[in-house]
Amino acid sequence: MNAPEFIQLRVKRQDNPTSKPYWEDIKIPYKPNMNVVSVLMEFRKNPINTKGEKIDPIVWECNCLEEVCGACTMLINGVPRQSCSALIDKIYEKYGSDKPIVLAPLTKFPVVRDLMIDRQIMFDNLRKVKAWVQVDGSWDIGRGPRMADRVHEWAYPISRCMTCGCCMESCPNVNSKSNFIGPNTIAQVHMFNAHPIGEMQKEKRLDALMGPGGIQECGNAQNCKRVCPKGINLTMSIAAVNRQVNKRALQRMFDK
């Protein structure tokens, strides 16, 4: 790859949650080993766009800078991924260094400003399905049995979910017409239902997943698994939880 003189970006901006989006072209001098976040940081030191106008620095979100918090997720050349781990040199290897890198906010979440989006819906969804191990109560539950290795083996990867929203972004059934809870939440149910103590809330989780916008809204496009940066086997979890909810439906019909 020939090192270009500048790193050029085309950024989809939006001044506030309700205003119209527009495109902004910016560039900074090329340096090796940068990532999208470091480019944006560099740019805000001297925010002048390619037309030479002084502009407001571009707003985005990031925390961990090591692909574990999910906050910096955006569309980079149309692909939902974390901007902190999006290496410029790698992007150039794939797309060529002559074209600007296109940044846009995720489309399935409300835009706060520029590339910053509001992921609250995913946290609300996790709350709906009680995606935690409930130990607080009137008495001590104790430690519970250990998780078997064979369970741990598939459950651990699910715990690496960072609620980044890539799977939601790629899912054709997550959109403004639907209230689908999304694949990541289903995988969390799969994991917490397998936990020896988490299992105590299993029915409640399944009931929530059978509710409005629940697992039934999945149409098996399986994009979610393909885009997950943590390599979580979402489609396996969806099928596994399908088994659980079907059984639960029978229980609800015949157990009382």
Partner: protein, 208 residues
């Protein structure tokens, strides 16, 4: 946000179920009955059509096992089509194309079945007239193309639907299971496509 405050869980599960049973199974029975044309053309086919039409109580089967499930599957299915925000051009994965095709074939199959049922079941009743009408459609290149698109859409929708059925009902869980079953379902589609093609070909050869 969807206006649906109530859960669609049961209606979705029923939608998935009736797609296979009775609708998918009916399609195969339908192909089997059509296959009498392979024996000796019009003669055996006419006998089969006559037999179906004169079986007592067949109307109850037609309404209860075919018309009602089919109407439900089609009408609720159109809503399912409407709810998706297709993105196959952005995420060009095989399964995503299948998801998109499942929705396109849903619409094509619905149009095809409405016309097919109207022209051959509701508009004409005499068995020989039914066969003549059908053969007439198959001997005209434009309407033949309509039939080819229609049956291919239907059998694709069935094959792919069978695979998603297996996920929805929790059968195909692991990666290997999903892969093997998706190949098997694709073979079901191919087999039905060849079978249906053979049927159309033989039916178009009928002379009176």
């Amino acid at each position: 946000m969807s206006s649906a405050k109530k859960s669609s869980f049961y209606i979705r599960r029923i939608h998935s179920l009736v797609g296979l049973l009775p609708i998918g199974i009916f399609m195969i029975v339908h192909f089997l009955i059509n296959s009498t044309v392979f024996i000796n053309g019009n003669e055996s086919y006419l006998a089969a059509v006559n037999f179906m039409k004169t079986t007592p109580g067949v109307i109850f089967l037609e309404v209860g096992l075919i018309a009602i499930p089919l109407l439900f599957h089609a009408i609720y299915g159109l809503y399912v089509v409407y709810v998706a925000h297709n993105n196959a051009l952005q995420y060009k994965y095989y399964r995503n194309w299948a998801f998109y095709l499942q929705r396109i074939t849903a619409i094509l199959t619905t149009i095809f079945i409405v016309i097919h049922v109207w022209t051959l079941r509701l508009a004409v009743h005499d068995s020989q007239m039914v066969i003549q009408t059908l053969v007439g459609w198959l001997q005209n290149p434009v309407t033949l193309a309509f039939y080819i698109i229609g049956y291919l859409a239907a059998v694709y929708h069935f094959g792919n639907g069978l695979f998603t059925f297996l996920i929805t009902w929790g059968v195909a869980k692991g990666d290997r299971a999903q892969k093997v079953l998706s190949i098997i379902c694709f073979c079901v589609f191919l087999a039905l496509a060849v079978w249906g093609g053979g049927l159309l070909y033989s039916l178009a050869q009928i002379t009176f």
